[in-house]
Symmetry: C2
Subunit: 401 residues, 2 copies
């Protein structure tokens, strides 16, 4: 009764609020507005004219800056265009069409290619797999990362398993951080496929929201230590550091993998946008500059994460569970009948990522996970949206008894 009346009130208010995508807010983007007047010089550190063609691997000074942040030696880091998603997509294209180091043949020649997908996970990873007919197998996530017993069993038994998607730090959408033991087991585990790869999407490497930044084990070093030097592809970007559409993206891996990647990229490009790379070096300067810049983001974002936590606790205590991440861009809410909750919210003008989007093929078998992206709306809108969402959860709980 109570929930029904609250929902009727909610619909009455005619909201149009959007919690669908992890977009920085305009105030966050303002933090990087100086970029629009940079660079002040087109010369790279070694004196090259950054305006002309060339420099396929990206500027050494930018690789030096981000190498330590992504735990990749600068010599093994590649700077690409404005999107790490593109670099992930293109890595899979390259693997489909050219054998990987250690691989016997191109993936298009395999009868089947399977990727493990820790769930809940990032929908755009799953979309890439679907687009290329790569079979996806869901693996449950815990507080320390994917269930490693399941992962180890699957990669050891099945030679069609060629990859696993990982967002190891402040994971999308749960916000959890892989434990050292999880990282070690991923680096060390025996795999049936000689060309198995970990797609290590370290999208939130520097995206701490509290004074207690999470530490992540060095997966590249651990893989090498355990005799699997070519196992890991590392990705990162400044999409949520500087400008979402106009940042720079990174690929890092072993020397053999980098050589393979660049040999393929050389057929695709004469070189990346070095002026945008210079712009980023001049603006961010060094690791301290990045950390200071990310603290300014955190000042804007952290109150939003706190607000979501507070409103959910007040409205849904006992009816639902959710994560309370210390970094990243997302909160994962688990409720019964998630699809119905999302539909009710939509009818009330609150747009949420479709239920199921956090799972391969858009199928959440338990119909439980809702991804909340709190960064874009301002605090007032966010409070309305989360309170409204809570009403929908309570309504569905009441209706479903």
């Amino acid at each position: 009764m109570n929930a029904q009346r609250d929902y009727a009130d909610l619909v009455q208010r005619g909201l149009t609020l959007d919690l669908t995508r992890g977009k920085p807010s305009p105030r966050q983007l303002d933090l990087s507005d100086d970029l629009l007047k940079l660079p002040t010089s087109y010369r790279t550190a070694d004196g090259t004219d950054g305006r002309n063609y060339g420099g396929l691997q990206g500027l050494p000074e930018l690789r030096e800056l981000f190498g330590p942040l992504l735990q990749v030696p600068a010599a093994q880091l590649v700077v690409g265009g404005n999107s790490s998603l593109t670099m992930m997509h293109d890595t899979i294209v390259h693997a489909l069409l050219s054998p990987l180091p250690g691989g016997a043949r191109r993936w298009v020649e395999e009868p089947e290619v399977t990727f493990l997908c820790p769930v809940p996970g990032y929908d755009r990873h799953f979309t890439i797999c679907e687009r290329f007919g790569i079979k996806m197998v869901a693996v449950p996530m815990g507080a320390d990362g994917p269930d490693m017993d399941v992962v180890e069993r699957l990669v050891a038994a099945d030679p069609t398993v060629k990859g696993i998607w990982c967002v190891p730090k402040y994971s999308n959408p749960s916000g959890i951080v892989y434990s050292d033991e999880t990282v070690r087991r991923l680096a060390a585990m025996p795999t049936a496929a000689p060309d198995f790869r970990i797609f290590w999407d370290n999208a939130y490497a520097v995206h701490h929201l509290t004074g207690d930044p999470a530490e992540l084990a060095d997966v590249l070093a651990l893989a090498a230590e355990h005799g699997n030097p070519d196992r890991v592809f590392v990705y990162g970007s400044t999409s949520k550091v500087t400008l979402a559409g106009s940042g720079v993206a990174f690929f890092g891996s072993s020397p053999a993998n980098v050589e393979w990647f660049l040999a393929n990229t050389a057929k695709q490009s004469i070189g990346p946008d070095k002026i945008n790379q210079l712009r980023h070096v001049e603006f961010l300067r060094d690791a301290d500059g990045v950390a200071a810049h990310m603290r300014r983001h955190a000042e804007l974002i952290w109150p939003k994460f706190e607000l979501v936590d507070r409103v959910l606790a007040k409205e849904l205590g006992g009816l639902a569970t959710w994560t309370s991440p210390k970094g990243g861009y997302f909160i994962s809410l688990e409720v019964p009948h998630a699809a119905e909750v999302v539909a009710k919210a939509k009818a009330a003008g609150i747009a949420l990522t479709p239920a199921g989007a956090t799972h391969p093929y858009g199928q959440d078998p338990d119909d439980r996970v809702i991804r909340i992206a709190p960064t874009f709306p301002d605090l007032e809108e966010l409070e309305q949206a989360i309170a409204g969402l809570a009403v929908c959860v309570r309504l569905v709980a009441e209706e479903r008894g």
Copy 2:
């Protein structure tokens, strides 16, 4: 004797000159230095925040600007990243992995895929084919474009022929412009493959060097008129308009092809660098702005083309033939024993594109074509390089009798 003495003198001088790649000179790049302080606003014409994610097809205002210049309706134009080569490469990747409109299956499932390669042509086109195991068949170029009798015969007879590379205006490297009749025949010809495509690399669409700009027939419109609306992929970029490494690239085609292209691109990217697109709109403004800017390029480049023509005429009259383009970036020199000439030049410190690079698989069966890229060196260096090259041609002619 004379040539041998001249060559000995040349080697003695210890030159280090580079005519290999079609790079703009620093003075040309200076013409676009205002770009480094733009845009003054991050708002797109429709009020969108250009700093955030999204806008996969590219800014409408930039598509309106370049649509007429590339002879593509703005609604059918896509703006990508910094490289049309990337868009060409990725189009072939998409065709390998997703059936084209009108195609029965993905190209990777075809027993063989063949591309026609008018020669001399652009080496990076051929490299893409080689990388994906696409068979290349050379077709001779004349003053009006590829030999259309040969093209028509091959595409009508052989269903494995899926594509043809064309640089229709100020072609790389001969500088010739396709005649209206050539364009009409390309648009109208029957093809055995239902998913045959023309890769129309209009790289030099606005790159006129004289007061008499070449006109190119509208291939998209002609193809539609002749019942082949989906036949043509158009490419272009500002790499040689603004900054070589930091420009914007375009893909244009029929509505069905654009839908296919964007559906595939949507899996690869959340959107292009819209700030760089805004930068270009603000800097170039409109078609008149582009034309005025290209006249400033021509003022710098045209004296170099004239110089090459003059030196070659003076030194090689009767010993060689070469083209005298009215636009673009290259001059094609034809001499006997081209590979030997290039080797002699290299030994004298004059770097030229490898002989054969203008042909598929790097094989020029007549060993005749040398591509000259005159834009990057200054006039003095260029004169030394061309005079030195002429010495090498005379030496080889004398030695070979």
